[in-house]
Amino acid sequence: MIQARGLSRTFKTKDATVEAVRAIDFDVAPGEIVGLLGPNGAGKTTTQRMLATLLLPTAGTATVAGCDLLADPVGVRRQLGYVSQSGGTNPMAKVDEELCTQGELYGLSRAVARDRARALRDQLDLHELGGRLIKTLSGGQKRRLDVALGLVHGPKLLFLDEPSTGLDPQARANLWAHIKTVRDRDRATILLTTHYLDEADALCDRILIIDHGKIVAEGSPAELKRKISGDLVTFELPDDGISRATELLAARAKDVTPVDGGLRVTVENGEAQALPLMRELDAAGIKVAALAIRHPSLDDVFLTLTGRSLRDSPEA
């Protein structure tokens, strides 16, 4: 559905030249939900805007939904639904006005656009809101309307830019369910950008981790976590036992990190190794007050790849 080759974008300001996207290559297969994950400023939105014909690449080529990005931008636009981070609705417009206008701009007749607006409102839990002013909608309702605007012409491919930014947890979960439905019911391909780890984990079949304009890793969330990290086991220990425990565990674990009130170790298989390690500590006279096993998160992956946490990234 998408083939990008050597896609680059450089922005020039008075004082500097910024390489926002640096010769990235990637493919997206039909029916996939692929996430571009990285901190703000990593190049995710720039990549998506280039593929949506809103920005010209400085170098490289891409085919989007069978259309050449540079030779046939109008062809790309016809096949593509795009939901920007800001959404794109006028607060003084009514829900159906926006949906019907967008449908007509995609070439639908007025009658078809009206039917489509009604159907999308039903699908996205906006049932009776057709006549409501957009300024009166909740954050979740407004974001679902943004998604509906991207779907109004029944595109094969949907781009979502930071779809759940600013939503409360319940609205996010609700939006995620709708996004999955769009893929499952409509067999649409979705390319989304996010800097939320849980969003990438919950929604994406495949993730492209992007940092400083380059793709630094790609794979399914499980593959990425498995490939790069082990499991994390945290032992709560008495203060006087920490240094001895560090020596003992260093010989058996990939990594030993002091944390508040104990140690965190990285091991291949947390469930299998946690109890034997605890017994060894016990045998050495170090009493373990508590232990916790955690599978690695995408943040751990990002940390391993870039040397910094996605959560702590100043831009994120």
Binding site: L54, L55, R78, S86, N90, A93, E104, L105, G154
Partner: protein, 270 residues
């Protein structure tokens, strides 16, 4: 979804011109609905020329008799200028609206569709022109009630000039708005341009009153010729070459405005 998609593709069998007009009318209807929801500014734009009509025009009576004024009664001199002023100021500030649309993401949402860029622009300009038309007709009718006598052809020609001016300045205002993307920058820019254009156009007082250097300077201002054309039209002097010059100036400004604004709409950063 697949059926919808096919239906949508089937609907794309328009020629490019048809599609452009269709996109323009879709945008026009959308903009009109938004306009009717917030009509306060129409009242403001309309009240201002009516105030000129009521509070400034009576002063002209003695001035006209003082000499150096072009032929005609005070209303025939003042109302055409007022109509051109309406065309200028009624459309010059529409760029503020496009900045808020850009900020809401509406411009980007529409630009990512296959809609014609010229169509997206024209829809807004047609809305602005319609508002101008209503205001110009109302103003002329009120002036007639005040005592203006004008031949119908002359009035229609002047309204045509006002509309061409509206197309030109609304387009340029949209282009400036999308280019600057800041109300703080757009306001001073428009004021900086509009004030000398206004003073050198003879809208308020005919440039025949001006010293020779100022009169010569005003001749380089196309708006001055448009005002002269409107005054000649109001006198019914249809053979006057100033009408042709004014129409050419207004049409050229409209063409330049549309070309510049379409280019800005097509720009990737618009």
């Amino acid at each position: 979804m697949n059926d919808d998609h096919l239906l949508y593709l089937a609907n794309l069998s328009y020629s490019e011109d048809d599609a452009m007009l269709r996109d323009a009318m879709t945008t026009f209807r959308y903009q009109m609905r938004l306009l009717f929801r917030e009509p306060a500014w129409i009242v403001v734009v309309l009240v201002q020329p009516l105030l000129y009509l009521a509070l400034f025009a009576p002063l002209l009576d003695k001035l006209v008799k003082g000499g150096n004024f072009p032929p005609g009664d005070p209303w025939q001199i003042f109302v055409p200028g007022l109509l051109i002023q309406l065309g200028m100021f009624g459309s010059l500030f529409v760029g503020f609206g496009i900045i808020s649309d850009w900020r809401y993401g509406v411009i980007e949402r529409m630009r990512v569709t296959p809609a014609s860029r010229l169509g997206l622009l024209l829809g807004r300009v047609i809305r602005d022109s319609l508002v101008l038309l209503v205001q110009a007709v109302l103003l002329t009718l009120v002036a007639v009630a005040f005592g203006l006598r004008v031949p119908l052809v002359g009035a229609l020609l002047t309204v045509g000039l006002v509309l061409l001016l509206g197309v030109a300045l609304a387009s340029l205002s949209y282009a400036a708005g999308l280019w600057l993307k800041s109300e703080d920058a757009l306001g001073p820019l428009l004021n900086m341009i509009s004030l000398p254009v206004l003073l050198l156009s003879g809208i308020l007082l005919p440039m025949t009153l001006a010293p020779r250097w100022l009169y010569r300077l005003s001749q380089a201002n196309p708006f001055s010729h448009i005002v002269d054309a409107a005054r000649a039209s109001f006198l019914g002097d249809l053979g006057n070459v100033e009408i042709l010059i004014g129409l050419v100036c207004a049409a050229a400004l409209a063409a330049v405005g549309l070309a510049v604004a379409t280019r800005v709409f097509q720009r990737e950063s618009a």
